[in-house]
């Protein structure tokens, strides 16, 4: 078979080229991933922290949250937020489709981040918590000034791979017709029958997106190093 890269200069029928459409699809992929990452980091950290507190109810809540969102496939969770929840809870009916995907992907990933944050906090010597409390800090202060600054540094590498996973997982948004890269790939393949060229370009864009995240995380990890502590002196 022969290559036909000119397919990207073809008109899609709505006045733009397939290349322009692909770029806007890439934008959607990055937007969905970035928003979901924010949701996942905030909720995941909160749940992870709750699971390490001495309060039984908090631990129970954090564990339940994690098990719930970890044991349902992402695609099913997207359908839940897209079809089921809005029909049960009316106020959600008017919101844009992308919100459902961001909530689904964000909560799905939050379960995995909560595991890592919990592990990061538990990796610290128990004496640190007791030292903080013994000095008269309240529990929230102990977390804020003693535990979390070190725990978050420990979990930067696993959080990096979660951030890369979010970009990959955002592809599932095709199922509710968000015009992101995978949706573009399926549509453009059908319309032009130049599947190989289109899939190659889309795969390449996923590659460089994940690679960019990886580089940014490496910079953050380096900036956040504490001399003589975890991660330093590699």
């Amino acid at each position: 078979m022969s290559w036909d890269w000119k397919v990207f200069l073809q008109d899609t029928g709505s006045g733009q080229t397939y290349f322009a459409w692909m770029m806007s699809a890439w934008g959607w992929t990055l937007l969905v991933s970035a928003c979901s990452l924010v949701v996942a980091l905030v909720v995941g950290s909160l749940m992870g922290i709750l699971r390490t507190t001495p309060v039984k109810a908090f631990v129970w809540l954090g564990n339940g949250w994690t098990e719930l969102f970890r044991n349902i496939p992402l695609l099913v969770q997207i359908f839940l937020w897209y079809h089921v929840i809005p029909s049960i809870w009316k106020p959600l009916q008017g919101v844009p489709d992308i919100v459902a995907v961001v909530i689904a992907l964000g909560f799905f990933t939050s379960a995995r981040i909560s595991e890592q944050v919990k592990a990061g906090i538990q990796a610290l010597p128990r004496g640190q918590r007791y030292a903080g409390l013994a000095m008269g800090l309240t529990l929230p202060q102990t977390y804020r000034f003693i535990l979390l600054p070190m725990a978050f540094r420990i979990v930067i590498p696993p959080l990096t791979s979660e951030s890369m996973n979010i970009i990959k997982n955002s592809s599932v948004a095709f199922a509710v017709s968000i015009t992101e890269l995978t949706f573009f790939a399926m549509q453009a393949q059908e319309e032009t029958s130049r599947g190989v060229e289109i899939y190659l370009a889309v795969t390449f864009l996923y590659f460089i997106s994940a690679f960019a995240v990886n580089r940014v995380a490496a910079v953050i990890e380096k900036r956040a190093q504490v001399p003589g502590m975890v991660g330093a002196g590699k």
């Binding site: 044991n71 496939p73 099913v76 089921v84 990959k168 199922a175 190989v196």
Partner: protein
């Protein structure tokens, strides 16, 4: 809106859901067995120390791990017919895809498992006159499997969840079963909700079992 589940009877379950459930389980089992076998071979290649084996294995694993699964499913669905000259069908295509894709993840687990076996064990094998392959076959791999069993099973639970992504090529799996039933009875909301509950119950109980197994193995060791 009021949810109602009165329309569900055995007839609906057996004609829509079970068909999809069987396929999901079948796909999971095929990809697990094939993926672990292929993954173990790839892990051995990566640990062989021979450059002509290490490089292709590393490229295989790193490429597949950086592409979204949905794209891999689409790629295979597009390429297999081009290569063999006839359409293979969404179901068979999915089995090939998942075996190849999961092998990349299983191989990383097996690599860690093989590396977790102390070096002295291999030396001991050589000392009693075993060849490299005998060492692997009788000493290293059995221990690696045993050490990694909980992780392999956890990956299989993730695999079972991921099978829902065959949605992209329209294969009839568990999720599809719920969707079709929902469309036929005009009750999509109830069926999606039920799909979530079903997946949760299956995956949660399996992960509880894995956790118990983990504790058991930890005690014996």
């Amino acid at each position: 809106m009021n949810l109602g589940f009165g329309f569900i009877d055995w007839n609906l379950i057996s004609s829509f859901i079970l068909k999809g459930f069987y396929f999901s389980v079948q796909l999971t089992l095929v990809a697990m067995v094939g993926g672990i076998a292929l993954g173990t071979a790839i892990a051995l290649m990566r640990l062989s120390g021979k450059k002509w084996l290490v490089t292709p294995a590393a490229i295989y694993v790193n490429t597949l791990r950086s592409i979204p699964l949905v794209m891999v499913i689409l790629w295979f669905f597009l390429l297999i017919p081009l290569l063999i000259g006839r359409p293979l069908g969404a179901e068979l295509s999915a089995m090939v895809t998942f075996t190849v894709f999961e092998a990349a993840y299983y191989s990383e687990i097996m690599r860690a498992g093989i590396q977790s076996v102390p070096k002295g064990q291999v030396s001991a094998g050589y000392a009693v006159g075993m060849t490299y392959s005998q060492c692997m076959r009788f000493i290293v791999l059995p221990q690696a499997f045993r050490n990694m069993l909980p992780v392999l099973l956890t990956q299989t639970i993730i695999l079972f969840q991921d099978t829902s992504l065959v949605y992209a090529v329209g294969a009839y799996d568990l999720l599809k079963g719920f969707e079709v039933a929902g469309k036929n009875f005009n009750r999509p909301v109830e069926m999606y909700l039920l799909a979530a509950v079903t997946y949760f119950v299956i995956c949660f109980s399996l992960s509880m079992l894995v956790r118990r197994l983990q504790k058991k193995i930890a005690i014996i060791r």
